[in-house]
Assembly symmetry: C2
Homo-oligomer: 131 residues x 2
DNA sequence: TATTGTTATACTCTATAACTATA
DNA sequence: TATAGTTATAGAGTATAACAATA
């Protein structure tokens, strides 16, 4: 069921983000950068669940489209500080509106109380991941 | 969150099924065949969410390991009737025990009532998939 | 015409490992 | 020694399309 649930959500998000010409993995990075301002690729990996190779490509994509930039990290010369550009912030805001409406539509099959319960239980299920 | 939830469950199931030398996609087919006795590949696709190409490979694997056989379908000469062998039924039972214990462990972070609620809401979320 | 199963292609995701430059 | 980022490779999943046999 989790597989089908993830697939349903993923398909809807991908479809809704298509007009912005970004995919879920790009939105995940935009979202993290929107919240934290500046993150290393390592930190982005931890927050999005991607891996090293994938994150390189995703940040490459965003940089090529002028949505993010790689600056030298002030604290660690090995690392980059990935940051949103002005264009990136605008797209992040737009994508956020789209994502919110998709989420609302996906959860429309549940009452408001059930939506809260579902999200809370889901979060506990995910957080229990201390294998 | 659904992505992380699915990944968590998938990783645990894959790991637990490793001793039986089968993967999740094989177990999905064993499970469906265990419930219905005999199914065409088309029906297996609908029940497992796989696609044509993947199902061909999965049934190939099961047949090569002597867990399932492709018989001619009595009703439709285009289709196969995929069925479990004796060995397949035994492995299905063994895999079922393993899967149950994994599911119990995954849901251990929730109380019994919460487990029922979670599964019920998840099922409604999935079933609402009438895009 | 549409469908079952097969095969082939391609793209993404994931996992790995090797490599550099730093720490 | 370990980590950040890059690059490369390979396996699995997914999406396509073409095809033969049959409905």
């Amino acid at each position: 069921m989790l597989r089908f649930a993830h697939r349903r959500a993923s398909r809807e998000f991908t479809e809704a983000l298509r007009p912005l010409a970004i995919e879920g993995r790009h939105y995940g990075v935009l979202l993290s950068l929107g919240l934290h301002g500046s993150l290393s690729q390592r930190e982005l990996i931890d927050r999005t669940g991607s891996d090293k190779s994938g994150m390189v490509r995703t940040v490459d994509d965003l940089e090529a489209r002028g949505l993010a930039v790689r600056r030298p990290s002030p604290a660690d010369r090995r690392a980059y500080a990935v940051e949103l550009t002005e264009t990136g912030r605008a797209l992040h805001a737009e994508a956020g509106r789209i994502a919110d409406s998709v989420a609302a539509r996906l959860l429309d099959c549940l009452s408001e109380d059930e939506q809260s319960t579902f999200c809370a239980l889901l979060e506990r299920f995910v957080t229990a991941d201390t294998t």
